[in-house]
C-alpha cells in the first residue's frame, strides 16, 4: 500500500511530499489542475517572512521571534493560536537551507520593496519558479505526481484516513496530507459566506487574485466528516485591486499602489476611510474588506500628477483627465458630489513637508474621515482614477490542526490525517494579513505534515505525543 498520499500541488503540498519522501515513505501527489496551472496560489507568491537574529544572505538586520509574533498578533487582532504561530515562526528561521537544497533560489528584495528586505526572503523568479523547483525535486526523488486529478472525498473512519476517491477510483494510503487550499475559487460558497450587505450579494463582485482551482471540495468534505472547524468563512486575504483584473489568477500585478498618495471615493463619490493611516505595505490588506462594504463593492483611487512616478507602476493605465470634473464624468461619478468631496478634502489639507518614506506631517483638519499622512491637495493636472474591487487571494476557514499538523476530530488529533497550507492557515491567521506569512505557514506546516505523515505510515508505534514534538522543535 502507498505510504503517504498528498492532496494538492502548491507549496505546502510539495513541502509535505518532499519531506515524506525524504523520510523514506512512498509518496503520491494529486494535483487537481493540469500541469500548466499547477501550484495553486503558490505561483503568485514571491517571498516568505523569515525570523532571523542576524543579517543573512538576502535578509538585512534581524527579525526576532518576538517582533514577528507581535506583528502577527497585531494584524490578527489576537485571532491566532500562539503555540502554532510561534511554531511556524521558528520554522521560518530554519527552513531556507532545505528549500535551497530542493532548488529554490533567493534574491534580494525587489525594487520598490525595500521595506521588506529585513523581514522577507524573496524567491528568485517568484513562486512559480519555487513550484517548478519543488516539482523537479519531487520527480527526481520518485514522488508519483498526477495532474488533472481532483479528489472528491476522503474515506475516514473515526477521523482515521483510509482512502481518497477520485471519481470512482479509490486510492488507499497509510497516511494522508491534505494541502488542497481554501475555497476562494468557489463563487457560491463565497456568496454564502459573505451574505448580503445593503441588499447586495457582496461576494458577487469579488475578483479572485489566486488560482481558479481552490473550490474547497476537501475542506467541505473534512468538515462534513466531523473535522474540527477553525476560522470565519468571511475572513480572507483581501486586497483592493484594479477592477479590470481578470476574474481569476490576476496575481500581484493587479494591485493599485497609489491609495495613500491621493483619496479613495466610493460610487457616491464619498471618501470612506483614512487613506494615509499607515504605510501602504501595512495597510494594503485591509482595503479589500473596506471596498467590499461599499456600494457595488467598488472604490476609485484618485491621484493627481504629483503622485506619478512615486508608486509601483500599475498594470492597467489609469483613467486620465485634465480636470477633476472631467475625470468624474469619465469614470461615471456624480460630478457635483465628487467636486464637493475633493473641494472639502483640498481645503482640509495641512501640507507640511511631504515625505512618502516616513509618516509625514501632511494631514487634514476637520475632515471626516481624516487623512492623517501624505495629505496634499489634488490640484495638479493631469488627474488619474483607478477603479478598485476586492481581490481575494485565499480564505481562512479551515480545519483545526495541532503542532504535528494532525487534523482534529472532536478535539482529538487524527492518527494519520494531516493538513497544511491554506486549508489550515486559519489556525495561525484568523484575520488580517502579513506579507509573506502565507508561504511561511505553508512551508512550516507542509514540512511538519510530511514528516508526521511518513512517521504515521512507516511507524507502527503510537505517534509521539504533541509535547514531545514541541520540545524537539524548541
Amino acid at each position: 500500500m502507498l505510504d503517504v498520499l498528498v492532496i494538492g500541488g502548491g507549496n505546502a503540498a510539495l513541502c509535505a511530499a518532499l519531506m515524506a519522501r525524504e523520510a523514506g515513505a512512498s509518496v503520491m501527489l494529486l494535483e487537481a489542475s493540469p500541469k500548466a496551472w499547477r501550484g495553486g496560489n503558490s505561483v503568485h507568491t514571491r517571498n516568505l517572512r523569515c525570523m532571523h537574529d542576524e543579517p543573512q544572505d538576502v535578509l538585512t538586520e534581524a527579525y526576532p521571534e518576538e517582533e514577528y509574533w507581535q506583528d502577527l498578533l497585531k494584524v490578527t487582532g489576537g485571532i491566532t493560536d500562539e503555540g502554532l504561530a510561534r511554531h511556524a515562526i521558528r520554522e521560518s528561521s530554519t527552513c531556507r537551507g532545505w528549500m535551497i537544497k530542493h532548488g529554490v533560489r533567493f534574491q534580494n528584495s525587489l525594487s520598490g520593496t525595500l521595506h521588506l528586505s529585513r523581514t522577507n526572503a524573496f524567491f528568485l523568479g517568484g513562486g512559480k519558479a519555487l513550484v517548478n523547483a519543488y516539482f523537479r525535486s519531487a520527480e527526481n526523488l520518485g514522488v508519483d505526481i498526477r495532474y488533472d486529478t481532483k479528489v472528491d472525498r476522503l474515506e475516514l473512519v473515526h477521523g482515521e484516513f483510509r482512502a481518497a476517491y477520485v471519481g470512482n477510483q479509490r486510492i488507499e494510503a497509510k497516511a494522508c496530507v491534505v494541502a488542497s487550499g481554501g475555497f476562494e475559487s468557489n463563487r457560491e460558497w463565497l456568496r454564502e459566506a459573505w451574505g448580503q450587505h445593503n441588499g447586495e450579494w457582496v461576494a458577487d463582485n469579488f475578483l479572485i487574485r489566486g488560482t481558479r482551482f481552490n473550490m474547497g471540495v476537501l475542506l467541505k468534505d473534512m468538515l462534513a466528516s466531523g473535522a474540527d472547524r477553525i476560522g470565519d468563512p468571511a475572513q480572507c486575504h483581501a486586497v483592493a485591486i484594479d477592477a479590470r483584473a481578470p476574474l481569476y489568477d490576476g496575481g500581484i500585478c493587479t494591485r493599485v499602489d497609489c491609495v495613500s498618495l491621493g483619496i479613495v471615493v466610493n460610487k457616491n463619490a464619498e471618501r470612506f476611510y483614512d487613506e494615509g493611516e499607515d504605510f501602504w505595505p501595512k495597510r494594503y490588506a485591509i482595503w479589500g474588506r473596506l471596498v467590499a462594504f461599499q456600494p457595488g463593492q467598488t472604490g476609485y483611487s484618485i491621484i493627481d500628477a504629483k503622485a506619478v512616478g512615486r508608486f509601483m507602476p500599475p498594470v492597467f493605465p489609469g483613467e486620465k483627465a485634465d480636470s477633476l470634473p472631467q475625470l468624474a464624468r469619465q469614470v461615471g461619478l456624480d460630478v457635483d458630489a465628487f467636486m464637493r468631496t475633493v473641494d472639502a478634502y483640498n481645503a482640509a489639507c495641512r501640507v507640511g513637508t511631504f515625505d512618502h518614506s516616513v509618516l509625514d506631517d501632511c494631514h487634514t483638519e476637520g475632515l471626516t474621515p481624516a487623512k492623517t499622512h501624505w495629505a496634499r491637495p489634488l490640484d495638479t493636472a493631469p488627474y488619474y482614477a483607478y477603479a478598485l474591487k476586492p481581490g481575494i487571494t485565499f480564505t481562512y476557514l479551515g480545519v483545526k490542526i495541532d503542532e504535528r499538523a494532525a487534523v482534529h476530530f472532536g478535539g482529538q488529533p487524527s492518527r494519520n490525517l494531516f493538513a497544511a497550507g491554506e486549508v489550515s492557515a486559519g489556525n495561525v491567521l484568523g484575520k488580517g494579513y502579513l506579507a509573506g506569512i502565507g508561504v511561511t505557514i505553508g512551508t512550516a506546516f507542509g514540512r511538519i505534515a510530511g514528516t508526521q505523515a511518513a512517521r504515521a505510515a512507516l511507524d507502527t508505534r503510537v505517534p509521539q505525543p504533541v509535547e514531545g514534538v514541541l520540545r524537539a522543535a524548541a
Partner: protein, 407 residues
C-alpha cells in the same frame, strides 16, 4: 475547473488602444521607419513590459528587468534596447505566472526575439538590405556556400588545376595570395563596416548619452565581462538557462562558448598568419606546430563542437521559447560555422595530397558564404547585444529618475 465566465478581455482592448494611440493611428507600409510609431511587435513588448513592471518577480534573472524598472513607459527606443538585452534564456517564461495559458499571455523571450530581428533590419546598412534578415535562412546559407564552392571548383577545373600532384600545402599555388586577400579582406571588411554603421545608429538612438560617475571604463569592463562570460545565460543563480523545459542547463552557455571562442581563435589564427606574411615575410604553409595552425586547429575544433551542440539545442528548444520564424536564420549561421570549420580542418589534414585544391576551393566557398551573410544574419545578435549590455552597464550607474515609494 470553473469556467472563467467573466474572463476579462479588457486588457487586450487596452493593449490595442495603447498600440493604436502610440502608432498615432496612421499605419504605414514600413511601420517601423518613423520614430515614435510602434509596430505590432513593438507594441507587444510595451504591453508585456507594463505587466512585468507591475510584477517584477524576475528582477534577479537578468538585466532586462532591472532596466525595465527604471522606466514607467516603453517607447520605441526603450523597446529595442530591452529586446537586445534579452538573451532568450527562458528563465522569465518558465517562472511567469502570466505566461500562456494565462489570458495575459506573457511571453517575454518571444516578444523580445521578434523585435530583435526588427532591430537588425531597421538598423541595417545599407538600409535596403534589412529585408535580407527575413530571407537569410538555412537554405540561403547552404545554397550560397555550395554555389560559391562549386564556382571555385569549376574555375579550377577549367584551368585544369583541380587535380594536381601534391603541393605540400602551398595554397597560393592554387589561388594567388593577393587574390585571396583582396576577395576575403574586402568582403569581411565590408561586412564589419555594415555592422559597425548599423550598431552606431542603434547606439545613438538608445544611448542615455550621459557619463556615469567614475567614467565609462568600469561600465565597459563590466559589459565586456558579461559578454565574454555570457553572464545572462546563467539564470541569475549561475546554474544556467532553459532549453527544453523548466530545468536549468549550462549546455547552451557551454556550446555558445565553444562557438564564440572557436570563432575568435580562428580569427586569431588568420590574424597571426597575416602578420607573419606581411611583417615577417613568412609565407604559408605553416608547420603543424606553428601558431597559426595551432590556433586554427583549436578554433576549428571549437567550431565543430559548439555549432553541433547549438544545432541540437535549437532543435530541442521548448516551443514557447523565442521566435520560431527565426530558427532558420539561427540554423543557417550555425551550419555555416560548422562547415567552415569542417572544411578547414579537412584541408589541414589533406593539404599534402592531390585533393588540396578541391578542398581549398570548397573551404573558401563556405568562408565566402559566411562572410557575405555575416552582416544580415544571426551574427548581428552579438553586435547588438553587446551594445545593449554596454548601455545597461552605463545606465545602471546613473541615478534613477523615478522615486517609487514602497509598494
Amino acid at each position: 475547473m470553473p469556467p472563467p465566465e467573466a474572463a476579462s478581455t479588457s486588457f487586450d482592448a487596452l493593449a490595442r488602444e495603447a498600440a493604436a494611440l502610440a502608432a498615432g493611428g496612421s499605419p504605414t507600409s514600413s511601420p517601423s521607419a518613423r520614430a515614435g510609431e510602434l509596430t505590432a511587435n513593438e507594441a507587444e513588448v510595451a504591453r508585456v513590459m507594463q505587466i512585468c513592471n507591475a510584477c517584477r518577480y524576475c528582477e534577479g534573472s537578468c538585466a532586462v528587468f532591472p532596466a525595465m524598472t527604471r522606466r514607467l513607459e516603453f517607447g520605441k527606443a526603450d523597446i529595442h534596447y530591452l529586446a537586445n538585452l534579452c538573451h532568450n534564456c527562458g528563465a522569465c517564461l518558465h517562472a511567469c505566472q502570466y505566461a500562456p495559458p494565462h489570458e495575459f499571455g506573457v511571453n517575454v523571450p518571444k516578444a523580445m526575439a521578434v523585435v530583435r530581428v526588427q532591430t537588425y533590419a531597421d538598423y541595417a546598412f545599407p538600409r535596403a538590405f534589412g529585408a535580407l534578415y527575413q530571407r537569410n535562412g538555412l537554405t540561403v546559407a547552404l545554397a550560397s556556400a555550395a554555389g560559391l564552392a562549386l564556382f571555385l571548383v569549376l574555375a579550377l577545373a577549367l584551368r585544369g588545376t583541380l587535380w594536381h600532384e601534391p603541393l605540400a600545402g602551398d595554397f597560393y599555388a592554387v589561388f594567388p595570395h593577393n587574390l585571396l586577400v583582396t576577395m576575403f579582406g574586402s568582403v569581411f571588411g565590408l561586412a564589419m563596416l555594415a555592422l559597425a554603421i548599423g550598431v552606431t545608429r542603434f547606439w545613438r538612438n538608445v544611448s542615455p548619452g550621459e557619463v556615469p560617475p567614475g567614467g565609462n571604463a568600469p561600465a565597459l569592463a563590466e559589459a565586456a565581462h558579461n559578454v565574454l562570460k555570457l553572464k545572462y545565460l546563467d539564470g541569475g543563480h549561475g546554474e544556467g538557462c532553459h532549453n527544453e523545459d523548466d530545468r536549468f542547463t549550462q549546455s547552451r552557455r557551454r556550446y555558445h562558448h565553444f562557438t564564440f571562442y572557436g570563432f575568435m581563435l580562428s580569427l586569431a589564427s588568420t590574424t597571426t598568419a597575416t602578420i607573419y606574411h606581411y611583417a615577417f615575410g613568412w609565407e604559408a604553409p605553416y608547420p603543424v606546430t606553428s601558431l597559426p595552425v595551432v590556433l586554427g586547429t583549436l578554433g576549428g575544433i571549437g567550431l565543430l563542437i559548439g555549432p553541433a551542440g547549438l544545432w541540437h539545442l535549437n532543435r530541442t528548444r521548448h516551443p514557447l521559447h523565442g521566435d520560431d520564424a527565426q530558427k532558420s536564420m539561427d540554423l543557417g549561421f550555425i551550419a555555416l560555422l560548422f562547415f567552415v570549420s569542417l572544411t578547414g580542418l579537412l584541408l589541414l589534414v589533406f593539404r599534402d595530397t592531390g585533393a588540396m585544391a578541391l578542398l581549398l576551393a570548397v573551404h573558401l566557398g563556405v568562408v565566402m558564404a559566411l562572410f557575405l551573410t555575416l552582416p544580415y544574419g544571426k551574427f548581428a545578435h552579438g553586435i547588438f547585444r553587446s551594445a545593449a549590455l554596454i548601455k545597461w552597464a552605463i545606465e545602471r550607474r546613473l541615478p534613477s529618475r523615478l522615486q517609487l515609494g514602497s509598494d
